[in-house]
Amino acid sequence: MYIEIYNEREQNTIKVEFAGTIVKELLQHLKLNPEVFLVVRNSEVITEEETLQDNDRIELLSVISGG
């Protein structure tokens, strides 16, 4: 499936092809640590166990800010 991802920290949007099913697997695929991101889909925060659908658009919000 294809997932569109907006990464707040990088301030960019990418589309990735992904063979898994849940958010946790997507973050593993992207080599991102779930400790430092919140995942939002359709303005709702979702957990790592949430199932993704083809053509989902998700936002990765950075937990770390400031200095």
Binding site: V36, V45, T47, E49, L61, S62, V63, S65, G66, G67
Partner: protein, 311 residues
Amino acid sequence: MSCTKCDHKAVISLQHGNLCKSHFIDYFEEKVFKTINKYQLIGRNEKLCVAVSGGKDSLTVLYLTKKYLEKNNLPANNLLALAVDEGIDQYREKTLIDLKKFCTEHQVPLTVVSFQEELGKTLDQAYPIINKDASKKPCNVCGVWRRYLLNKHAKKLGADKVITGHNLDDEAQAIIMNIFKANTGLAARLGPISGVEEHDLFIQRVKPLYFCAEKEVRLYALLKNFQIQFTECPYSKEGYRHHIQEMLNDFEHKYKGTKQGIVNSFLAMLPLLQNQEKKGLSSIQQCSKCQEASNKDVCNACMMKETIQNA
């Protein structure tokens, strides 16, 4: 995945279960209020100065301090906010915009002081000069001046306490940094209430978000719709803390509860560290230049200021 307490969809998975939006907000607020009560961070009729930047931590702690005062029928007009503008291009001006809006909306008087006005230079201007002379990282310079101005102006505003937005991640990082550098004296100043002993020249700093993980704070701020733009200090990656932060997040991912474990172990040792530090504590004196607290004739902030003036 559903909330452990109801049928609603979970927004976070914690060690003790999954929570939906409403139950997470309750859990988070209760944790903060319990910390305030357990460590007596807020006293009746105390004037409270919240150190704010406009980021998620400071807006959350400001909002919850106000809520705590209202909930306990304590006078909300004893609450004020104090921000320090370090003068970091493309960074602080953005967070100050959000901060001013937030303080107006929540009717908390805000005072903004700046490195430029107080010390004659912005951090961007001062850091290369000081760095050349003393091999200081920008975070070292910033830390000294920020603490100096917060203490000085909180005192000027008549505050009894300075409330900061330090969270569990900040504290776990500070503990490990001090252990790695064998700074037991500095470690003794950590904890929910900063400092080893009370002194007239120092305003006590307290941390209501002490047991809240950074991820929880970001989630709370998001669920409460606090307007926060994503900004990152351009100097943050230069500091030692950044490496410790990455290491701890990596550990937390692999071994859940690592940060909490560090803080809990530290709290068990803190009284011992504080006793040891009290024995060897050099007497606090007034800086001969600015009359603020110092452990030597001239305080660090004035020494840095002098370096700039002589450059």
